[in-house]
Amino acid sequence: MSEAVLHDDHHDHKPTGIGRWLFSTNHKDIGTMYLVFALIMFFVGGAMSMVIRAELFQPGMQYVDPQFYNSMVTVHALVMIFGALMPAGVGLANWMIPMMIGAPDMALPRMNNMSFWILPFAFTLLLSTFFMQGGAPAGGWTMYPPLVLQLGDGLPYLVFAVHFLGVSSIMGAINIIATVFNMRAPGMTFMRLPLFVWAWIITAFLLIAAMPVLAGGVTMLLTDKFFGTAFFDAAGGGDPVMFQHIFWFFGHPEVYILVLPAFGVISQIIPTFARKPLFGYTSMVYATASIAFLSFFVWAHHMFTVGMPLTGELFFMYATMSIAVPTGVKIFNWMATMWKGSMTFETPMLFAIGVLFMFSLGGFSGLMMGITPVDFQYHDTYFIVAHFHYVIVPGIIFGLMGGIYFWLPKWTGNMYDEKLGKLHFWSSTISVNILFFPMHFIGLAGMPRRIPDYSVQFADWNAIISLGGFAFGLSQLILVWVVIKCVRGGEKATDQVWEGAHGLEWTLPSPPPFHTFTTPPEVTDATAHS
């Protein structure tokens, strides 16, 4: 194989100029573009959350109109979910899946190019609504009618942006499935796939099943607004709650679309730094698949307060509680992987352990909210804001950031600055808890979510939360500095990079040549991941 690599190296002529990126069919370049795009969107969405936290720093309205505040809440969520988290996951998949399964590239390289380049257009549509009559979407990222239909000229832009994002995601998902099913190296059986690849296959099927449902739902919003239909208008025989069922039939699997790639990253990092094989590989695969399967049967726990019949409430309560079982299995497997290992705590491992602790906190509050009668109190308060931010920020985002630190030396050929990486981890961890933990308290004490102003008993906690928020926002600049510094130079990374790293991607040079595995490697039990 080394001969093949050298051969590649010799003819490692990349296209030059802007054309290299615009017309790219190379999985590594497209992966880089996805990751850079996600990072930019992370800061765009983050800037909006800074506006939110500035307004909430004190009681009273200081800076923005309530309508603009609602736009900030709405677009912050849309940008973070569709612009930062999902593209970051796809970026990691693009970079790593071909190198992990011994494929020369993605199965459908031109489609790969298209699914990336749709994104900037979709977000141009979405963000342009800020300059339109009636402003940007302000009805929440969940787009519930009839409220969302009160939006001015921005509505069709919102709907078409969602359509574009859906098309992009579905094409990305098809590509990943086609790649893994058809382009595995000889000997790379399904049960030898790295867990990250497994997580992504399952995510890809979730995307294909869920995104068209969302597209259908928002299309019905469009026809209700412009073509006189009444899908969601009771006066015309429709039902506003039907939209919520459609939305959350997409929306709950979407949670796992976001989280499974991060879980996949964790499953790569922990064995590496524990210097010990992943515990319970088979049960990990089955647990991931059953989480994904169950995610289609729990959607209505997002809408317990709409007034469902008792039997419906009971069904969705039991189904929701049952998801705790496979999720617990995953956490326990990661713990067992660490158990009696020989651990070191480089930045990727710190982020992975951070996920174990803080994602679990989000899991606990999730279990509490799954209990329907109690959810009647928790619903639409800051308690749920605390819950899903614990899942998303120190859960998913920490997982993805761990992945970035883990693979950055492989991508750039240089080690990142470990001191700065650790500083990034610790400042993020401390500030994220100051930011989100007190939200549990104010939520339980009765502060509703999505309000621009609050009664004064919540003032002290909100000030603390805002300070945590500003500190977390600033901490993320460290990440940018680490990445830039690492791309520009640093201590040269070895091929294996990490002492405990196993798998095909670590047999390639760091950085890998433009084309890798043009001759497929042979995979045996000894060289496989697990």
């Binding site: 309205m61 079982v325 660490m338 009696k340 602790f357 509703p448």
Partner: protein, 380 residues
């Protein structure tokens, strides 16, 4: 370990962490930490369930995190740990699948009981209907024929304007006070129907122990049984547009006797208001009344000076409709248009006549005529 002991420990840990944050006003923070126990059988049941699950997850959390911390401390390379290479244990995997299932079943039993209890909406002694409207609540006492609209109190509303310069700390019950409270009798099973006129709202008073969406075109039924007299405050809990944060709820629970007195008062007030429609009003009376009605009901969208909001709410100042024929303006006020609600259900003839007169005589509007409440009554 007894539950009481555990309570002490949890309380102790919380207190210490609070102390780190601030040595002062500890009592204030303690009020803003946990769910309210509330004043109904439902809310108490929900509170107990909440605490039970909180204790369960706290214990699980402590156990799991302790194991992780122990492992992180002891199984590290710097302490000379050598990695074992096991990667499978059927017994362990069965254990950590079965034990969580058992815990979940234990949690599901009281949860199911509570849910079944909460859904028993029958046998109510009285019924009120709550209608969410952007951004106020309308209450109809279906048995007594009383109905009124409840909006954010004026001092909160003044203070919450962007750059008002008024310190919210100086306002009593800032954002949690209204002009008309919902008065309810204690020790009575009350059925509360929720619905909405425009978008989805959510009626939530934490002390009652639940919240329920108010959905246009649908009616949800709920019930409550308030055990103690008092004033209980809440908010709209479902994002419903620009002023979602400014439509509070205030329930005043009183004894059955006091409630009967209040009902009689309300009935005579409504009769008096209806009589107002038949009398001839002077322009000054109408302008004074209209200014009041405008501030309470209209200024939230059309703004204090009738200037509206670009792209969202049309201006009334120099508007073609306000300066057009009175009958067309009255029709629009009565029936609403787009986001504007149909005011015929919310305001009486006197209020509508007064506010129409007020708008036609204010700002840059030029018609300056008088619309009598009887004109409005005739057009209903």
């Amino acid at each position: 370990m007894s539950v009481d002991k555990l309570k002490q420990i949890v309380l102790g840990v919380t207190t210490v962490s609070l102390f780190l944050m601030s040595g002062t006003a500890l009592a204030d923070y303690m009020n803003v930490l946990n769910l309210t126990e509330g004043v109904t059988p439902t809310s108490k049941m929900v509170y107990d369930l909440h605490m039970l699950i909180l204790y369960i997850v706290t214990v699980i959390g402590i156990l799991v995190f302790s194991v992780m911390c122990w492992s992180i401390y002891h199984h590290r390379k710097s302490k000379g740990a050598v990695a074992e290479q096991f990667h499978h244990s059927t017994a362990a995997e069965i254990t950590w699948t079965v034990i969580p299932i058992l815990i979940l079943v234990l949690m599901a039993i009281p949860a199911t009981k509570a849910l079944v209890f909460m859904e028993q909406t029958g046998d109510a002694e009285m019924t009120i209907k709550v209608t969410g409207i952007q951004w106020k609540w309308k209450y109809d006492y279906l048995d007594e024929g009383i109905s009124f609209v409840s909006t954010l109190s004026q001092d909160s509303n003044d203070a919450r304007q962007v750059g008002s310069g008024i310190d919210p700390n100086t306002i009593e019950n800032y954002l949690l006070d209204v002009d008309n409270r919902v008065v309810l009798p204690i020790k009575t099973k009350i059925r509360i129907l929720t619905t909405a006129a425009d978008v989805i709202h959510d009626w939530w008073v934490p002390a009652l122990g639940w919240k329920r969406d108010a959905i246009p075109g649908f009616i949800n039924d709920n019930w409550t049984y308030i055990e103690e007299p008092g004033i209980y405050r809440g908010n709209c809990a479902e994002l419903c547009g620009r002023d979602h944060g400014f439509m509070p709820i205030v329930v005043e629970a009183v004894s059955k006797d006091e409630y009967a007195v209040w009902v009689e008062e309300q009935k005579s007030m409504q009769l008096a208001a209806a009589a107002g429609a038949d009398k001839e009003w002077t322009k000054e009376e109408l302008l004074a009344k209209g200014a009041e009605v405008y501030t309470t009901n209209c200024a939230v969208c059309h703004m204090a000076e009738g200037q509206g909001m670009e792209g969202l709410f049309p201006a009334l100042d120099s508007s073609a409709i306000v300066n057009g024929p009175a009958s067309e303006m009255i029709m629009q006020v009565l029936n609403g248009k787009n986001m504007m609600p149909a005011w015929k259900d919310l305001l009486n003839d006197t209020d509508i006549g007064a506010v129409v007169t007020f708008a036609r005589n204010s700002w840059g509007n030029t018609v300056k005529d008088v619309v009598q409440p009887s004109d409005v009554k005739a057009m209903r």
